[in-house]
Symmetry: C2
Subunit: 223 residues, 2 copies
DNA sequence: CATGACTAATTAACCAGTTAGTTAGATTAT
DNA sequence: ATAATCTAACTAACTGGTTAATTAGTCATG
């Protein structure tokens, strides 16, 4: 009680509980009472740290996307050649999502909300995260094409294709689990998925050449 | 007013308005008043035809998915050889979604809701629609592999990969539009996407053989 | 004149956001 | 040193606007 409990801890607990609730139920379905209960704080504390529900939701989005951007840009800023870099990018993105499985849900929710006026956050998110990443990956693809390494794909289609294969798998896992008999989120299956995605991408992107040794980086992922 | 207006029309108007509202805002965000207004009927009429909001939502889902299943099964039941059939399947699925763009939103919403207990509908949807389609496409893939036409892909990964590329494009279009300068939903771009998806799939699935003439059914578009 | 189609008005529950505080510890005054 | 004062962190209880759902009926037609 009282003024203890390290404010940072409380704030972080709220943010984490909110991320879970928003990812699962969306902003309309999320209940501030549930977030407070999950974070083990009084509901009024949410409003002490964040202006309102919408602002809290925005903070959750920024937290998730900034983490992703940081990870992914470390790869995109490296000086790998195009083939290795695009594989490393996809792998890094995959690993981020595999260990932050609320991210794909938040992302898809926000994508669907992005009709004019529906989301106060989407413009900021696009400008801060999506646009820079898209530009960078697009440039990488054009570079690979120019060097004759990649097939002449259209980045505006290829980028969303890559993202979709990674993001969709995780957000559809609960349904998948009921269709097939195994658990799509077991470490074994996640590793398989990683390999499948990278295989799919290289098959669709790389210009076939002699002795194509497909480079599928091993995955250090936990569930 | 009174007992006129053909009940079928009213029911259909409600269903259509509800589909739009649910797709855009999810079940929690949807407002029954908005649905009634959009359908130009009194709100109580929703409850005359459907037990409650949740039941109406279920009816919307069944309507959307049964339409899709019918379309897709006409292809899957045909006697095309594996290569042509899988392309025809993907093409048909793509065309269905392209002309029913609320479908991908409803689908993704329901996928994210599918945590134990969260959705009353998911078990029925899986049993009635997803499971049968998945089994049929899985069998088709295994057939193609057995005949040496397809690479040895894992259906449990390949099927969601195909679906994701098709579904994700449409639900992410509003965001994409703000990242790139063109409209991803223009007929021209949709045709391009169709070609890109089919190209992507054939590149990743077909066993390379001499004289590979890529078969891109109708809407003959180049990337 | 019964029945299916439909509605205006109302109700009950829910839930985001507020209020009016309390508590614990840091800071200053004595 | 210690009492007085301040402030950030936190909470129990409440409020009012919103919204799903119901009620009690009207209207048209076979």
């Amino acid at each position: 009680m009282g003024s203890r409990g390290q404010p940072e801890e409380s704030r972080a607990a709220i943010l984490q509980a909110a991320a879970k609730e928003f990812a699962e139920l969306g902003i309309a379905g999320a209940r501030t009472d549930a977030i407070a209960r999950e974070a083990r704080v009084n509901k009024a504390l949410l409003y002490y740290y964040f202006k309102d529900k919408e602002t809290l939701y925005g903070a959750v989005l920024d937290h998730a996307f900034s983490g992703m951007k940081a990870k992914v840009f470390r790869v995109l800023d490296s000086d790998l050649p195009p083939r290795e870099k695009i594989m490393a990018y996809a792998g890094e993105y995959f690993d981020f999502i595999a260990s932050n499985q609320i991210y794909p849900k938040l992302m898809q929710r926000e994508m669907m909300r992005a009709r004019e006026g529906n989301s106060v956050h989407i413009d900021r998110l696009i400008k801060t995260y999506f646009q820079p990443i898209y530009r960078r990956v697009g440039a990488l693809l054009r570079e690979g094409i120019a060097e004759g390494e990649f097939r002449k794909v259209d980045p505006a289609h290829f980028v969303p294709s890559m993202i979709s294969m990674i993001v969709f798998y995780f957000s559809s896992a609960p349904v998948m689990q009921r269709i097939v008999r195994f658990n799509p989120l077991s470490p074994r299956r996640i590793a398989q998925r990683r390999a499948a995605v990278l295989d799919f991408i290289s098959a669709a992107l790389f210009q076939p050449r002699a002795g194509t040794a497909m480079a599928v980086r091993k995955s250090g992922v936990r569930t």
